[in-house]
Symmetry: C2
Subunit: 105 residues, 2 copies
Amino acid sequence: MTHFDKTRYNARAAIVKALAHPTRLFLVDVLSMEERCVCDLTAMVGADISTVSKHLSVLKQAGLVTDDKRGAQVFYRLKCPCVTHFFDCLESVLVESCPTSRQAP
Amino acid sequence: MTHFDKTRYNARAAIVKALAHPTRLFLVDVLSMEERCVCDLTAMVGADISTVSKHLSVLKQAGLVTDDKRGAQVFYRLKCPCVTHFFDCLESVLVESCPTSRQAP
DNA sequence: CCATCATTTGGCTAAACTGCCAAATGATGG
DNA sequence: CCATCATTTGGCAGTTTAGCCAAATGATGG
């Protein structure tokens, strides 16, 4: 693995790490539909608002979402819609490894 | 977020977590080409063999790879080829967030 | 059997991550 | 200005993760 490779895989891993939490996956899923303010997201997640704010900042730092302050509220939205394809792939991995999905007989 | 949702996002996060490490992303990338034994992978990664073995077992437990013992060697291969699409998506996120890629003027 | 090669497992320390509370910051409307 | 609402930041305790070494397991070939 060359130095160039290391740099590349580190960059990729930074993005994957940002997604590697159930709450953050949920946030990405919600934001893929439409933008939302932090208080709405907090209500949906059901955790402390500071916790949700930190999760959002992780996603933001990874370049996955952007925020937009309007009045006292901050609205977040998904920056890269392609992230949604992630979920299709995740589901197919889940189906693959799920004991109920058998190979053809 | 319902209990069902929580379960679903936990399951997805388990897979994403398994990918959330540069070495494991590298392993998936290599294995997407062809199967490899642990010693080959270890040489490519350039870490202790026990470290690589543990990374592989993380990927295996997440259902991303399978292994196959032939003689004294263990060969790993990618179980779900769709994971490769991940990388395309990751790259586009990187391009998006890269300062050198500007918006249309 | 024994030595050897390939791999996994146990264990340990350092580092990173989570989630909550409390406090700070910022905007809004008297 | 002051009180209030929305959000972020600091900080702490508990949990998880990473990577190395050493030891255990498993197959192979005398």
